[in-house]
């Protein structure tokens, strides 16, 4: 299994601190959210800056592109969720119902709704198709800031600073809440949708069984005590990646839970955001004001 092991590109984003970096759905482009209120669209493999999206009133903390790449949703410290048109760069919609910083945003799979998690302890669901300014629904079960939201075809997965991972299953109409002793900084479904990868402050990453909530594996060695650090899985669910506050990206083998490699950013700053290519061994990570692209120098054995 080839893993990204060499730095191929370094994107100078020139947008202050990069708050998040996200691949688009097919992995050809990526979005970087800057602390200078802008979002930038890149071709990470060629290091091309394609477009800048402005419209936020304060730092942008998260963004995601829609499934058809026509829209971008983003949320930031101006408490708004903004929907951008990719080609024109215009902000089509602004949702202003959140009472606090919007930490995370996510489209659903068909990009018909936006889910935004905020520091006001809610996840709000916005209908992209209507012109309503009010959310369709509010998931207000969290007792503390919602730090991360992920959506599968029928589930909404949220992690919040009240140390709970909540999973809302729309099909059966139930909400499952798993307690993980520490504030959750990132939560990911595995690509097979059976497990949930949870990273929380100060402790190891945990791989939980989605259905039972049981602990399957733990991954430790990295450093995460202060910041909201992303974790992710590689494109084949064989490895687990997480940023760290020591300027590395840690890669663990999923089964053996051993650190298989570390990617050194040569900067002693927190690597806080990372995103894995959906189908190839390409990783992008954000550290301070730069974005790094990591690729594999071995052919992908399939």
């Amino acid at each position: 299994m080839s893993l990204p092991n060499q730095k191929t590109q370094t994107l100078e984003c020139k947008q202050g601190a990069v708050r998040a970096i996200r691949f688009n759905v097919d992995g050809n482009y990526c979005l970087s959210c800057g602390s200078d209120k802008t979002i930038k669209l890149w071709n990470p493999l060629r290091g091309l800056h394609l477009k800048t999206y402005t419209g936020h009133g304060y730092e942008v903390l998260d963004a995601q592109s829609s499934g058809d790449n026509s829209h971008i949703c983003s949320g930031g410290m101006d408490k708004t969720v903004v929907l951008f048109d990719v080609s024109s760069g215009q902000a089509i919609r602004k949702y202003r119902d959140h009472a606090g910083t919007v930490n995370c945003v996510s489209f659903n799979e068909e990009s018909t709704v936006i889910l935004s998690g905020s520091i006001d302890c809610t996840v709000k669901v916005w209908d992209v198709r209507s012109r309503k300014n009010q959310p369709i629904q509010e998931l207000n079960e969290a007792k503390d800031s919602v730090t991360v939201v992920q959506v599968s075809d029928h589930e909404i997965l949220t992690g919040s600073a009240d140390s709970r991972v909540r999973r809302y299953d729309l099909r059966i109409g139930r909400m499952f809440s798993d307690f993980v002793s520490k504030p959750v900084s990132s939560v990911r479904f595995t690509r097979d949708g059976q497990c949930v990868l949870v990273s929380s402050l100060g402790v190891s990453l945990k791989l939980l069984d989605k259905d039972s909530g049981e602990l399957l594996n733990e991954y430790s060695g990295h450093q995460n005590s202060n910041y909201k650090i992303d974790c992710c899985l590689n494109h084949k669910d064989t490895h687990i990646l997480s940023g760290s506050e020591d300027g590395h990206i840690y890669i663990w083998d999923l089964l053996e839970a051993k650190v298989s490699s570390k990617l050194d950013h040569e900067v002693r700053k927190t690597v806080h955001s990372l995103s894995f290519h959906p189908s190839e061994p390409v990783l992008i990570s954000a550290c301070a004001d730069k974005v790094y692209v990591w690729e594999s120098n071995q052919p992908d054995q399939t």
Binding site: A99, T101, N140, T147, K228, H272
Partner: protein
């Protein structure tokens, strides 16, 4: 050629169109006056019998303005223009005596354009003759005048003249000169021996002869004029003549007609004129074929073959392409050359072809939405279980599948049997009395109840139960019939308050059931409810009624219901909070620490997605028709600041349901609670005020009943006191208690529950007065806000009526306890908890009746506000705090300053407190920690920007100013780890907020207290010390001391953490 063209034109309208005749136009009568001719000016044109007479002298108008003005004599001496010179007799012109009309078309001297004299035909003829005369005279031929007529010089048109000047000769074709070869070729292109020629071919000699040129072979450089050939005319055949027929052109015969250069008569193959033209019309005298005049027309001259003599050239004339007719098809060319076309020498570039993309191997030509994850690996049967199948499972089925215990169907199952019997008896008694009174009670409820006949209850219970009777019936029926209704059927709250069919109990019962079914989102809820002995018509009608009633009598709107808690809810509310904060939580943390994830750390709730959300996710709604959105039964955290910033949302999941009893199976519903149901609404309000009543222990307080009441009263009084204190922001309160009591009835909440800091900060306006207090406070450093609250209360109490005060003193501990739950800290501070436990133990002996009585003394209408407000306490305090600090901007600034400057800044802030800026949401406080991160976390980030954001949490907003500097968002957790973890989050928030505000206040203090306050700040505890001294009498000294010790410990640990 020139004659063409008229056919191509469109229609031409000649003359003036006949005016359109409209039938409905009335015919105007023609009067004799209309028949007289008039001129343009309307003057009569003809006079008398004469026509054409001048009107000049008519009616002696000559010389007048209207009449004719004769021209007067004009001396030519003064104006000798050339005209005058040329025409000296100009004044005598007849036109001078004419007016415009006379010169008009129909006038006597009409003026029109005419050919100038020298150019009229007569004149030209004359000229020609004179020319001819000159010729003839010069040639010595004298035919006399007779000949003059005959000899007419030919007129050449300008075009011919020009051509001639250019070197053209008659009989030649136009165009560039051709080389000899060409000519030769043409000559050789005679009918070949093998080719049949129909009719007579023109004699070959004729051609060469007609050319009349002998060209030596070697003179290849000599060029010759092209043949005079008519260009091909592309005209459709529109007549019935034979092919190629063309009538004789008369212009050919006429001598002076225009010579058609381009359309020479095809019958003549040579330039010389001969043939038919001469025959039919004769030849002019000056034509060169005079000798042929009498020649017999030779049929050979006629071209009667269809084949043109020169195949290609004939068609094109001199415009033909160079190598016309001798095209050779290249070998590579496949296909037939079109006649008249030739292959171009330069090949066209082949069109760029874009091949269709090669399809990937597994491509299927249909689209599916991109899934982030795949389901394919899941076996079919599992997938079915996950909701893919068409078989619909309801919540119960799923619950059973998931191995849940079926939840009990009713609260009444939990009641001990003896009590059940009593209830039944009561019901029966009620129904009996009803039937006696109304005489028309329906049979259904009676039947059920008559089964369990017991001795009747005292009528006092009736009042209570009558309100719930339908619900009870419904329950009974449910149990009896074992209907398929959802086990966690919520008792429909509104049904207890609104009973639209009260007159008909059976109907009301059905309505209740209907409502519950509607609430659960069943299909066709009425069908399950309708009684069998009704006709279809009745059923239909009742269904309409029910649906209308259900729409009309909605439960309290979500907003309202989120603000208030009904009596039935208190205990549930309490329980829910316990779920989150109580022993279960510690279990969870323990389990998490032991890494026993799974059942121990998992909670599961029913969750109702919004209909639209299901639609957008393409998922069938698991609860079709359900009104509930969100997690039913579990209320959201009332103590989150943000909950109160969006008060307008009606969709949020707190449609109040008294159903949480079903949510928490196994919960004990005590007998006392049941019997006290009637008092519940009031009790709620009480509880909402003092929150004590949330605590079941308090239902049996140790003190007498007077004591409790008095405490309550004193409470309210103090509340008023406090309100007045804040409103006036003055120190007058001590003197003017009475006045203030009258004015301050509105802000009870604020008085009681508001952060002490706010009023403290206000009080600081008159610092001198409070200085002593503050000094004493600073001396003590305790982080416990609870005590601080008490202090304030006590302080207020002290200011209250003396009577109340004394009573209060007697009931001191009870008050303390009654206040505690609002600011619960018992789990936080162990000492405190112990004390409380002791208190509660003592209080447990009190009979519950006291409580109810005391409750009755409260005005029930106003009280719900208390409850609601108590929940919102933290918000308001925060908002107010914000306002006071001049809004969010100043705060950000303040937080970005180095710590040392904070004091000064805070002073500024509080100085701004008069200007009430817009109340900004407290979120803004969140920004501060982030900004501070950037600065204080120097190791990690450049000065320009922080590299990343710490995990943001709401608790950040509430943490201490100093704590805010830390990127850790959950400082309290660390801090509290040594303490019990069970403390409520709300308490944390309150505490931290108070801390913060306290600190602000403290910074404002005089310089004397500043050092101390800083000390206290560093220990993050001195906050509540403000009114500590006042509360000394209310809190036992030993307790306080212990508490303070505990606090200082914790604050030390905090300090350590901070310096790490």
């Amino acid at each position: 050629m020139a004659s063409d063209g008229s056919d191509d034109d469109d229609f031409v309208a000649l003359g003036t169109a006949v005016p359109v005749f409209f039938e409905d136009q009335p015919k105007k009568l023609i009067t004799p006056q209309d028949l007289t001719a008039k001129d343009k000016q309307g003057r009569r044109r003809f006079h008398g019998a004469f026509t054409g007479g001048f009107s000049a002298g008519f009616f002696n108008t000559v010389g007048t303005k209207e009449g004719f003005v004769p021209s007067t004599f004009v001396s030519s001496k003064s104006r000798k223009s050339r005209n005058d010179v040329e025409r000296p007799n100009r004044s005598s012109q007849p036109e001078d005596f004419m007016d415009d009309e006379d010169l008009e078309e129909h006038g006597i001297a009409p003026r029109k354009f005419a050919t100038a004299e020298g150019f009229t035909s007569e004149e030209r003829k004359r000229k020609q003759i004179s020319d001819a005369n000159q010729v003839t005279s010069s040639s010595a031929l004298t035919f006399g005048a007779y000949l003059d007529d005959l000899v007419v010089p030919e007129q050449l048109t300008v075009g011919v003249k020009l051509l001639k000047k250019m070197g053209w000769r008659e009989g030649q074709g136009l165009g560039p000169r051709v080389e000899q070869k060409k000519k030769k070729k043409k000559k050789n292109s005679q009918p070949k021996p093998g080719v049949k020629v129909y009719g007579c071919a023109p004699p070959p000699s004729d051609e060469s002869g007609s050319d009349g040129e002998f060209v030596p072979e070697d003179l290849s450089s000599v060029t010759f004029a092209p043949k005079d050939i008519a260009p091909i005319s592309v005209r459709p055949k529109d007549n019935v003549h034979g092919l190629g027929y063309r009538g004789l052109d008369p212009s050919l015969a006429l001598p002076r007609s225009h010579i058609n250069l381009f359309a020479a008569p095809p019958v003549r193959s040579t330039g010389s004129r001969k043939g038919i033209s001469g025959q039919a019309f004769g030849v002019g005298a000056f034509e060169d074929e005079d000798e042929d005049i009498y020649a017999v027309d030779n049929l050979l001259n006629y071209d009667i073959t269809m084949q043109p003599d020169n195949e290609g050239d004939d068609k094109f004339g001199w415009t033909a392409p160079r190598n016309h007719g001798k095209q050779t098809v290249p070998v590579t060319y496949v296909g037939k050359l079109l006649e008249g076309f030739c292959l171009s020498k330069t090949q066209l570039k082949p069109k760029k072809k874009f091949p269709a993309p090669t399809l990937p191997k597994g491509f299927k030509p249909h689209h599916w939405f991109r899934k982030h994850r795949e389901m394919s690996h899941i076996p079919e049967h599992l997938r079915q279980g996950m909701g893919y199948n068409s078989v619909k499972l309801n919540a119960v089925d799923r619950g059973i599948l998931l191995g849940e215990q079926p939840v009990m169907s009713s609260v009444f199952d939990l009641i001990p049997k003896a009590d059940q019997q009593r209830i039944d008896a009561t019901k029966e008694a009620i129904s009996m009395t009803k039937s006696l009174n109304e005489g028309k009670a329906s049979k259904e409820p009676l039947e059920n109840e008559s089964q369990n006949k017991k001795d009747a209850e005292p009528s006092s219970a009736r009042n209570f139960l009558s309100r719930f009777q339908p619900a009870l019936d419904a329950e009974a029926q449910d149990n009896a019939e074992k209907k398929t209704s959802n086990p966690n059927t919520p008792l429909f709250q509104s049904s207890m308050t609104f009973q639209p069919f009260r007159k008909d109990p059976a109907k009301q019962t059905r309505y209740e059931k209907y409502l519950t079914l509607v609430k659960q989102g069943g299909h066709e809820p009425y069908n399950a409810v309708a009684s069998s002995n009704m006709t279809e018509w009745e059923k239909a009608r009742e269904r309409d009624e029910f649906s209308k009633a259900a729409k009309m009598f909605r439960p309290m709107s979500a907003m309202m219901s989120s603000r208030f808690v009904s009596g039935a809810m208190i205990d549930d509310d309490m329980d829910e909070k316990c779920i989150e904060s109580g022993s279960e939580k510690t279990d969870e943390t323990k389990a998490a620490e032991m890494k026993l994830f799974g059942k121990l750390t998992r909670e599961e709730h029913e969750w109702h997605p919004h209909q639209l959300l299901c639609k957008r996710f393409n998922v069938p709604n698991p609860f079709p028709g359900s009104d509930i959105v969100g997690v039913p039964g579990v209320k959201r955290d009332k103590y989150s600041v943000f909950n109160f910033l969006s008060m307008g949302d009606f969709q949020s999941g707190e449609t109040q349901q008294p159903s949480s009893s079903t949510e928490t199976p196994g919960r004990e519903v005590s007998h006392t609670e049941n019997t006290m149901l009637s008092a519940k609404p009031k009790k709620t309000t009480m509880a909402s005020v003092f929150k004590v009543l949330d605590d079941p222990n308090f239902h049996k307080p140790g003190g007498g009943h007077e004591m409790v009441t008095s405490s309550a009263v004193s409470k309210s009084l103090t509340a008023k006191e406090g309100a007045s204190v804040e409103d006036h922001q003055e120190g007058e309160e001590k003197d003017e208690n009475d006045q203030e009591e009258s004015t301050a009835d509105m802000d009870l909440f604020r008085a009681i529950f508001k952060n002490s800091d706010s009023d403290d900060s206000e009080r600081e306006d008159d610092e001198g007065k409070n200085d002593v207090e503050i000094m004493s406070e600073d001396g003590q450093s305790s982080p416990d806000k609870h005590t601080e609250e008490r202090d304030i209360d006590a302080a207020m109490i002290q200011e209250a009526d003396p009577v109340v005060k004394t009573e209060l003193r007697s009931a001191d501990e009870a008050i303390q306890d009654s206040f505690r739950p609002l600011f619960t800290r018992r789990k936080k501070v162990n000492v405190d908890q112990e004390a409380n436990d002791q208190l509660q133990q003592r209080l447990q002996e009190a009979p519950p009746e006291i409580l109810s009585k005391s409750n009755e003394m409260q005005a029930p209408d106003k009280l719900p506000h208390w409850r609601s407000l108590s929940g919102s306490k933290s918000v308001f305090s925060v908002l107010e705090d914000m306002e006071r600090n001049g809004g969010f901007k100043e705060r950000v600034v303040a937080s970005e300053q180095p710590l040392v400057d904070k004091e000064a800044l805070n002073e500024e802030d509080s100085a701004d407190s008069e200007t009430f800026g817009p109340s900004l949401p407290p979120v803004t406080a969140e920004k501060n920690p982030d900004n501070n991160d950037g600065e204080e976390d120097g190791a990690n980030c450049s000065t320009a920007y922080g590299p990343s954001l710490p995990v943001l949490s709401t608790s950040l907003s509430s943490t201490d100013l100093q704590e805010r500097g830390r990127p850790v968002e959950k400082l309290e957790n660390k801090n509290n780890r040594k303490e019990s973890r069970s403390s409520h989050r709300k308490d944390k928030r309150k505490k931290s907020k108070r801390k913060k505000q306290k600190k602000l206040r403290k910074h404002k203090k005089s310089s004397k207290s500043r050092s101390k306050s800083r000390k206290s700040r560093h220990s993050s505890s001195g906050s509540e010390a403000d009114s500590e001294s006042d509360s000394d009498d209310s809190v036992s000294d030993s307790e306080l001391l212990e508490r303070l010790k505990g606090v200082s410990k914790s604050s030390k640990s905090l300090e350590k953490l901070r310096h790490l």
